[in-house]
Amino acid sequence: MVPLSWYLALSAVLFTIGVVGVIIQRNIISLFMCIELMLNAVNLTLVAFSRFLGDVTGQLFVFIVMTVAAAEAAVGLAIIISLFRSRETINVDEADLLRL
């Protein structure tokens, strides 16, 4: 049996990669995908704990997280499309109208 710490370590690596991706990427679609990566890292943790504690709650949370991710992707991509329509770019540095 694979110990719990292995799953947690993998999840930590994935989450950190996601965070670093948010820092180094300037492309808004890639930023979105890094957020999905972080959500998935958390999902792995929840499922691993659910398995090792014998409690189904973790998997229910994963279900809810997926629902929220789907909603987030729909709204976020709609925002990206309307941003691209008005700015012709998907670089987040270009969308700084509110900056002084």
């Binding site: 799953y7 990669i17 965070v19 998935n40 909603a71 992707a73 991509l77």
Partner: protein
């Protein structure tokens, strides 16, 4: 520990975990290092599929199936649809205003990884539970008894997302850039309706 004892303690589940985890991490690095968003998206699909495989090793087949069906099969198709629609090819690096961030990323990565591992070391190693949850029945039982409120809230959230995204992606007026319509209906735009009208007229004339 010498090699023989190591080989004797190894199980198939270890090999599976290490294989999928390695693939997952490599793909995750590809997600953040690729410059072309479509490569990032394809790498993310690999991450999602390997995670689904890991969920199977955790005796969570329902979540694994949902992961592939919803995440890889629907959400990522949406991403790829938008990437193709906006036709984002190579990312042009014209004004990189936060160039220093890229050099900060590596130490930040190591520091955060160290911190998370320090936390993980404090977690004990609970023995695997004898009866793993994860069948469709147990998830449904939990969802429609104790967690019915989050479930309903999520459904309302989805409804709001549908309405919100339609409002956002809708064109304000016909004068706006006709992006989606142009990309999708370019080939279909030659409306066949007038032709049909003419045929009808001819038929009426013939009948008359």
């Amino acid at each position: 520990m010498d090699v023989n004892t190591l080989l004797n303690t190894i199980e198939i589940s270890h090999i599976l975990f290490l294989g999928f985890a390695a693939l997952c991490v490599v793909a995750a690095f590809n997600v953040i290092l690729q410059h072309n968003p479509i490569y990032s998206a394809l790498a993310l699909i690999i991450v999602l599929c390997t995670l689904a495989a890991l969920f199977v090793t955790l005796y969570a087949p329902f979540i694994a199936a949902i992961q592939v069906l919803v995440y890889a099969g629907a959400i990522m198709v949406l991403f790829i649809f938008v990437i193709m629609l906006l036709n984002v090819r190579e990312e042009e690096s014209k004004t990189d205003q936060q160039k220093y961030l890229k050099y900060l990323a590596v130490p930040f990565f190591l520091a955060m990884l160290g911190e998370v591992f320090a936390v993980i070391k404090t977690v004990g190693a609970p023995p695997a539970s004898a009866n793993p949850p994860g069948t469709v029945e147990s998830i449904a039982n939990g969802m429609f008894t104790n967690y019915v409120l989050p479930f309903e809230a999520a459904s309302v959230l989805i409804l709001m997302a549908i309405v919100g995204s339609m409002l956002l992606a809708r064109r304000e007026s016909a004068a706006d850039t006709n992006l989606i319509e142009d990309a999708l209906n370019a080939a279909n735009r030659s409306t066949p309706m007038p032709a049909i009208e003419t045929v009808r007229e001819i038929e009426e004339e013939v009948a008359a």
